[in-house]
Symmetry: none
Subunit: 132 residues, 4 copies
DNA sequence: GTGGTCTAGACCACC
DNA sequence: GTGGTCTAGACCACC
């Protein structure tokens, strides 16, 4: 009834973070990403957790690990694109669910989004949406 | 760089869950909510954690606890409304951030939202948004 | 009939103690107060109880806690003043009740106070007050 | 530094309650007071605690227990009077200490008491006392 | 039954 | 070191 969200496992959050940078264009094929050891220190997270994330990313074809060299972005453009679609789709679905849960009707969603984007009210003049 | 979200504390998630039900109209003034013990069992959480949530909700005026009786929704309509505005505002801000992070420009957001809502493509045919 | 006073909860007594020191001028804005652990040891009380007190004091604006740094007095002069007024008011009300309970009429209270303060009888020669 | 008041032992509070009623004239010599058993039920307190209180009151000559009959007030007028003086003295001393602790100077005490008693401001218009 | 206080820890994040 | 969260109880007061 009241859902307690245990949040995603950390290794998924790491995968997500790297994927997001890739999708945003901050990373491209061939770029080196921090070593597992480095990443563990940066994130203050167990090296095992980082390893799990890197391993899964490699299985997806997102990165490639070269022994003694490091870990490098390996995603070809088509993969980046499909990852991007996937993340977009999920984010949108989550958002729509959230709006419905807050009593914003499907048809009202574009309006509240518009309002949120309007320069006059980037943060403040949210109004109880009316059915137009 | 890659932000690890430790998720919100459990007591805040409990507060959120109750607030969401209130805002959605599933709860109204005078309704009794599960006792601290019940809720603790339901959520498999320490009774203390539930109490922290209930106490903070009481400080916000969302609920009222009555010794030996139980805990009851106490939020007047104006409070419900302002809580709703607040949740909406946060959800929208989070969504916009997410879209920007995925490389969707501010001006493109309405389009992808529209697409996500269109009956033809409720879930799947997300397209790479073009710069208009 | 005979009221058993279970005394105030410990966390309120802690709040009171700190507030009293603040009001008396022993503490001023910016002063660091003992850490939760230290205070717990000093008072031989659970750290949780101290935290409850500190948290509530923070909600009142009396202190500010800084993660990893400590807890500091934050009350602006106006707050100190209003806390002082409040403590005064309560102490006086309690005292008047006590006097009435001991059969000292409202109109006789100034006299017994005067007597108690007189240098000749700082402590001992209290007399049965007469109805004037 | 911050004194945690564990409050007085319950048996002393019971003694106090009875003494106060005596001093106030609610009880006089010969009056029967509730049996230990009754008192324990009324106060939701262990019978042992009540017994301790009654025993000490008997030692002071305040009550007399008559086997199979009950417990009766036994204090002669002189004792009542001296008990009253004693309670008054303590209450006044406590009050003066409290005022000093709140920064009210000895010479200002009569004024704040006067103010607290004035019909115009029985509860509210307490002011930061000025040295007159 | 209900909520309120408290303990004596644990483990975490920040410094 | 610091505060923040959480557990799994205990015991109390009120009903």
């Amino acid at each position: 009834m009241i859902e307690i969200d245990v949040s995603h496992p950390i290794y998924q959050q790491i995968m997500d973070g790297i994927t997001r940078r890739l999708v945003r264009g901050d990373l491209t094929v061939g770029d080196q990403i921090p070593s597992q050891r480095e990443m563990a220190v940066i994130l203050r997270v167990s090296p095992n957790t980082v390893q799990r994330a890197y391993r899964d990313l490699e299985a997806l074809g997102v990165v490639e690990t070269q022994r003694g060299q490091g870990t490098f972005v390996a995603a070809p453009p088509e993969l980046v694109d499909s990852l991007r679609q996937e993340m977009l789709r999920k984010a949108l679905a989550r958002f729509v669910q959230e709006m419905l849960g807050l009593g914003v009707g499907r048809s009202e969603i574009p309006k509240v989004v518009q309002d949120a984007l309007s320069p006059a009210a980037p943060n403040a003049n949210m109004q109880k949406p009316e059915v137009t």
